[in-house]
């Protein structure tokens, strides 16, 4: 739920809760943050489900299944964040410039997005190496998982900060 916390902090810092007539804008920020939460949970489910199905069938995890699922989940999450979530700012009423919101947000999230892509690449490489010999790909798997955790968290936080800045412009 940290996207909601970030949004509360941003709004508190900007006086968004007290400013007259800002209720709609605050609602829009929370709608976006809610969208971030939902998209993150959906991404986790998209990665977890195939891994779980494989485990129930084979009795063991298969890193390549999870890594491949991550590619799809990350792609969908990026698309949802870029194309869909900025539209939620319309919930604040008026005529928001969604294009500008999207543009500013992208400037904030492009590096974490690249970090996420590199981390998933590491996970894919590690998974492939594990196929050949147990243990051979585990350094890559550990580095990829650490990078993914960090970059994904940054991606979510900065998408909120960036879209917030774009919306206010």
């Amino acid at each position: 739920m940290f996207p909601i916390v970030i949004t509360v902090l941003l709004n508190t810092a900007d006086g968004g809760f007290e400013r007259p007539g800002a209720l709609g804008q605050t609602g829009a920020h929370f709608a976006f943050a809610g969208g971030v939460v939902v998209s993150s949970l959906a991404a986790v489910a998209l990665v977890y489900a195939p891994g779980r199905i494989y485990f129930d069938h084979a009795g063991r995890p298969e890193p390549l299944v999870a890594s491949t699922a991550l590619v799809f989940a990350a792609g969908l999450k990026l698309a949802a964040t870029y194309f869909l979530l900025p539209e939620l700012y319309r919930a604040g009423g008026g005529e928001p410039d969604i294009g500008a919101t999207r543009e500013v947000m992208w400037r904030w999230i492009r590096w974490p997005a690249l970090g996420t892509a590199l981390s998933i690449t590491l996970l894919l490489v590690g998974s492939a190496l594990e196929q050949g010999q147990w243990g051979r790909g585990q350094v890559a798997l550990i580095a990829g998982a650490a990078g993914l955790t960090l970059s994904h968290a940054l991606f979510d936080v900065l998408s909120i900060v960036g879209s917030s800045r774009g919306y206010r412009r």
């Binding site: 009795g59 063991r60 995890p61 010999q133 147990w134 243990g135 798997l141 550990i142």
Partner: protein, 418 residues
């Protein structure tokens, strides 16, 4: 135990009461809340156990499966033990405890084959039974009628957080009250060791207080019957099944000396080395709650200090001893990892010709590693809840191992050349 004609007559009458009705119709779970168990079978008997909550004199009645001829022995204590001897080797027996007009449920055990004989021996094995997880595996294993004994590799209960004797007893009582535990414990003789969770999570020798360890040890011995040929409340011992197999139960936890780098005490190490070298059995199974195999990969490295690998001198000493003495037929059997697997103990160095299998978890989450042991060192692994069945046929060059899940379905079958 030799019996007079009068003793046999009395015992026969008791057994008839127990089995055929009269005043003793149904088991009394109030007086015997944890069922019954047997343990450490010998050619002439076994150790019999129950928890008795009554006040009358207690005795165990034992009769051959399918026969009316019975014998009885006195049992003592609230966590009551009775040692029955003088029975026929390699024979199935039933037993129950009787006190006044109350009786326990029935259990069964098979006496071990006599030395000099080499019948096929079948053993079950599992580890890690955490309350709150389904106990289906225990139920399926307890439905078996063909297992000569069942090896409990530790973490039979999770007593984490307990400190006093009463708390440890409660940690045992809750799971042992379940039908699944009681069915397994009544179905055949147990051969048990412990792991960390019988004391505390991550316990490994000196990181609990002596008082806490004493309480945990007492509760363990109260609930897991076993012979103590090497001293009071000393876990390590062996159980022999004729010339077919000898099971060495190792205490992998309480005798560690981290400062000296010793995983087992010198006394235990000497006992294990001498026992393996002297055993005439075709197969020697070493029950070590924590694996001895090398898991030299980054995902398993952080926990290295908790297992044999963290004590390289002890590990090398026992593995080199087996190799140098040319001791054949050794299979290491372990639990703890929440995964089942089979493989070589090492890829190179000491243990490269040795084999280890992991059994269980019976009722636990699977190992959380995203990648499980595989080739070239390991041939198979699984995180499904399971118990293993080992068929030890001295006429065959290998041990047939099967892992079965909570539905009784075989999830893997392997021939283990040892």
């Amino acid at each position: 135990m030799s019996l007079t004609r009068r003793e046999v007559s009395i015992a026969l009458a008791s057994a008839a009461l127990v089995r055929c009705g009269g005043r003793l119709v149904n088991p009394s779970p109030k007086e015997f809340p944890l069922g019954v168990a047997s343990a450490d079978p010998s050619p002439g008997g076994a150790l019999l156990w129950t928890r008795y909550d009554g006040g009358e004199a207690l005795r165990a009645v034992v009769w051959p499966d399918g026969s009316d001829t019975a014998v009885e022995v006195p049992a003592t204590g609230r966590w009551a033990l009775a040692e029955i001897t003088g029975l026929t080797p390699a024979t199935w027996y039933r037993f129950a405890f009787v006190a006044g007009d109350k009786r326990s449920s029935e259990g069964r055990f098979r006496t071990a084959p006599a030395p000099g004989t080499s019948p096929i021996v079948r053993l079950g094995a599992t580890s890690c039974c955490k309350a709150g997880h389904p106990f289906d595996v225990l139920l399926r294993a307890g439905e078996r009628t063909d297992l000569d004994a069942f090896l409990m590799l530790g973490d039979t209960v999770y007593a984490d957080g307990a400190g006093s004797l009463d708390e440890y007893r409660a940690a045992w009582e809750d799971p042992l009250s379940t039908a699944e535990h009681q069915q397994l414990r009544a179905s055949t003789a147990l051969i048990a060791t412990w792991d960390d969770h019988e004391v505390d999570n991550g316990w490994g020798g000196d990181n609990v207080t002596p008082e806490q360890l004493a309480a945990a040890r007492q509760a363990f011995f109260e609930h897991m019957p076993q012979r103590t040929p090497n001293g009071a409340q000393v876990l390590w011992r062996s159980v022999r099944f004729g010339d077919t197999a000898e099971v060495f139960a190792v205490d992998s936890r309480s005798e560690r000396d981290e400062a000296a780098g010793e995983y087992l005490s010198r006394a235990q190490m000497s006992w294990l080395k001498d026992g393996l070298a002297a055993s005439p059995a075709r197969f020697k199974l070493v029950m070590t709650s924590v694996p001895i195999a090398e898991y030299a990969v980054p995902l398993f490295a952080p926990f290295k200090d908790d297992r044999w690998e963290g004590f390289p001198a002890s590990r090398a000493e026992i593995l080199k001893h087996v190799e140098d003495e040319g001791i054949g037929g050794v299979l290491w059997v372990a639990g703890d990892f929440h995964l089942a697997c089979s493989g070589r103990v090492s890829l190179s160095g000491p243990g490269q010709s040795a084999r280890e299998i992991l059994v269980g978890p019976a009722a636990q989450l699977p190992n959380l590693s995203p990648s499980y042991p595989a080739g070239p060192q390991f041939e198979w692994s699984s995180g499904l809840n399971n118990y293993a069945e080992l068929e030890l046929d001295p006429l065959r060059p290998s041990i047939r191992a099967r892992w079965l899940d909570g539905r009784g379905r075989a999830i893997k079958e392997l021939e283990l050349a040892v």
